[in-house]
């Protein structure tokens, strides 16, 4: 299978030596934290005008994570570029000449994305949570409350899964414009719209972002027919499908 630790080190060197890595991850942090803070503050100030129904299903944790909706786009860009940059520059040929075992390459990139995004996502989600709760004032919750820690970690896992899924799509579609042209509208527009359309939503509920949202909730969403644990496995299934698909094409195609 090749010299995995050497390839891993090499992939880490690649990721660390381009500016886009640090810019995209910083944007993911700032947007997720910032937008979450704004929405938490607004929710707090508008509390009195909320309907009783909204107040009953109010989830302080998931409200503070509202910024993930936008912040995930930066994570998608990061992961797509990890592989897409190589195809757009032609560097993939240098890579595959140095590492002809394609499974080794894909696994090394997967591990690098995982070990870089997971800590960034954890920091992002904890900062987002504490800042959001502070701004929610009396309506906020605490990390020690039931299921709250699980939801915060769940949100970080969701961001990580989105990155891995995007990496798989990046391997499948190769050109960054194609991958971004598919993933950004999907997560930003198509999935949120479809999951609100009657009938269609019974399928759309199993989309990765809807499943991921369940992982980051404390109060269950009764419009979705499964809980956070199932959400985790649905997300994992999407990640696995995209990476396996990416590998199948990487293995078969000419570089």
């Amino acid at each position: 299978m090749g010299d995995f630790s050497a390839v891993l080190f090499s992939e880490w060197t690649k990721v660390r030596t381009v500016r886009s890595t640090w810019i995209t991850l910083l944007v993911a942090f700032v947007v997720t934290v910032g937008l979450g803070a704004v929405i938490s503050a607004v929710t707090n100030s508008q509390w009195n005008s909320m309907s009783d129904r909204d107040r009953l299903t109010f989830d302080a944790t998931s409200t503070s994570f509202s910024g993930i909706y936008l912040g995930q786009l930066a994570v998608i860009v990061f992961a797509v570029l990890v592989v897409g940059n190589e195809y757009s520059s032609g560097m993939i040929r240098a890579t595959l000449a140095a590492v002809p075992q394609r499974i080794t390459l894909l696994l090394a990139k997967t591990v690098v994305v995982l070990v870089l995004v997971l800590p960034v996502a954890l920091v992002t989600c904890f900062v987002t949570f504490f800042l959001g709760q502070a701004l929610l004032g009396d309506h906020g919750t605490s990390i020690g409350s039931t299921h709250v820690l699980r939801a915060v970690v769940g949100a970080a896992l969701y961001m990580t899964f989105i990155a891995l899924l995007s990496l798989g799509v990046g391997f499948m579609l190769r050109k960054p414009v194609l991958s971004l042209g598919l993933l950004m509208p999907f997560f930003f527009l198509i999935s949120p719209i479809l999951s609100n359309v009657p009938k269609v939503k019974t399928v759309a509920h199993y989309f990765p972002d809807i499943a991921g949202t369940q992982m980051a909730r404390v109060v269950g969403d009764n419009s979705v027919p499964y809980g956070p644990t199932a959400g985790l496995f649905i997300c994992l299934a999407w990640v696995a499908a995209c990476l396996v698909g990416g590998y199948a094409l990487l293995k078969r195609r000419d570089a």
Binding site: D3, K14, T17, S89, A94, A97, A98, P100
Partner: protein, 345 residues
């Protein structure tokens, strides 16, 4: 040693490489020659397991490329496409490559010095000129100190200084006992660097022979002679049954002449010579004729054997060379009507 065996690559309806077999001899510069679109880059990509052959195989020291442990230490390759991320520095580009094959980081500085890029090592490669980019690609090829080097059109787009540098580099690599396999669409370039030639056209092998044999078979030698007593010399040559051809600018050529023989003849007749210089017809012409024929043969007639007029293409190196010898050189074997040469793009 690299062995290419019955290699074939089809892209949709394009047959880029067609049953190609040859071996790259060890320790010399082998020129891989063919017009644009002949299939050189495709063949090289298949050698590196980048493109999957439709059929056939390549082995390097008996193994497929993907079976090589730390392949950069066996083969270093410079491919045609610029293969660097523009936002990464030259140093970091070489660093990730080095790490993938457990090459010590110190070697990165070494190769940067070898190709003369040490001063710009910390600059982003996106701002590099074509020549600097090419040097970086060559540095990457040299990184693992490999026994075999492969360069795809290394002098394309380089300035004269860069071209000279690449030529000398290839020669010195071969002098160190390395195998150098270098592609080009220019015969003149190969004539200056290659010891051995593999010529392809439209994906098929046209010739596989040493540079000296190619020159012997393809360039008709003649001797240019100038004398203040042309009549006397022409008479003397005619008596010796040596044929001549007048030159527009005065003097004349002695076809297939031997300078020593002509000089002796002139002395015997007391004729003074002002010039006696052996000349060779352009190899570029011989190469163009060879490939033009193959291009016409391939594009004009899909089933050449059916009409019985086109000669069958050589099956492998041995046959190719025998055929050439039998029929008195490449021009003879492949000589069909003046070929419409495919436009170079």
């Amino acid at each position: 040693m690299i062995e290419v065996h019955q290699l074939t690559k089809r892209y949709g309806s394009t047959l880029a490489v067609d049953g190609l077999s040859f071996q790259v001899p060890r320790g010399v510069v082998t020129g891989f020659l063919g017009p644009n679109g002949a299939g050189k880059s495709t063949t090289m990509r298949m050698m590196l397991d980048l493109d999957r052959p439709t059929s056939g195989s390549v082995t390097i020291d008996g193994r497929a490329y993907h079976q090589l442990h730390q392949p950069l230490k066996h083969i270093g390759a410079l491919l045609e496409a610029k293969a660097v991320h523009p936002g990464r520095t030259a140093y970091n580009h070489l660093l990730w490559l080095a790490r993938s094959n457990r090459i010590p980081a110190g070697r990165v500085d070494e190769v940067l010095g070898l190709v003369g890029l040490r001063e710009v090592a910390k600059r982003k490669s996106g701002g590099f000129s074509l020549g600097m980019g090419q040097r970086l690609g060559i540095a990457a090829a040299l990184l693992g100190d490999p026994k075999i080097l492969m360069f795809d059109e290394p002098v394309n787009g380089l300035d004269p200084e860069g071209i000279l540098w690449v030529r000398n580099l290839m020669k010195s690599l071969a002098q160190e006992g390395r195998t150098v396999f270098v592609s080009s669409h220019l015969m003149s370039e190969m004539a200056l660097t290659a010891d051995h030639l593999v010529v392809i056209g439209q994906g098929r092998l046209l010739a596989n022979l040493s540079m000296n044999d190619f020159i012997d078979q393809n360039s008709h030698g003649f001797v240019r002679v100038r004398t203040p007593q042309p009549e006397a010399l022409l008479d003397a040559l005619a008596m010796a049954r040596i044929s001549t051809r007048p030159l527009a600018e005065g003097g004349f050529e002695v076809i297939d002449g031997n300078p020593a023989q002509i000089g002796d003849l002139a002395r015997d007749h007391g004729i003074s010579l002002h010039e006696l210089s052996p000349q060779r017809a352009s190899l570029e012409e011989a190469f163009m004729q060879m490939t033009a024929d193959s291009v016409e043969y391939r594009t004009g007639d899909i089933h050449p054997s059916a009409d019985g007029t086109a000669p069958p293409p050589p099956e492998d190196a041995g046959v190719a060379r025998t055929g050439a010898a039998d029929s008195g050189g490449w021009g003879a074997q492949w000589n069909r009507t003046s070929g419409k040469r495919r436009k170079e793009s």
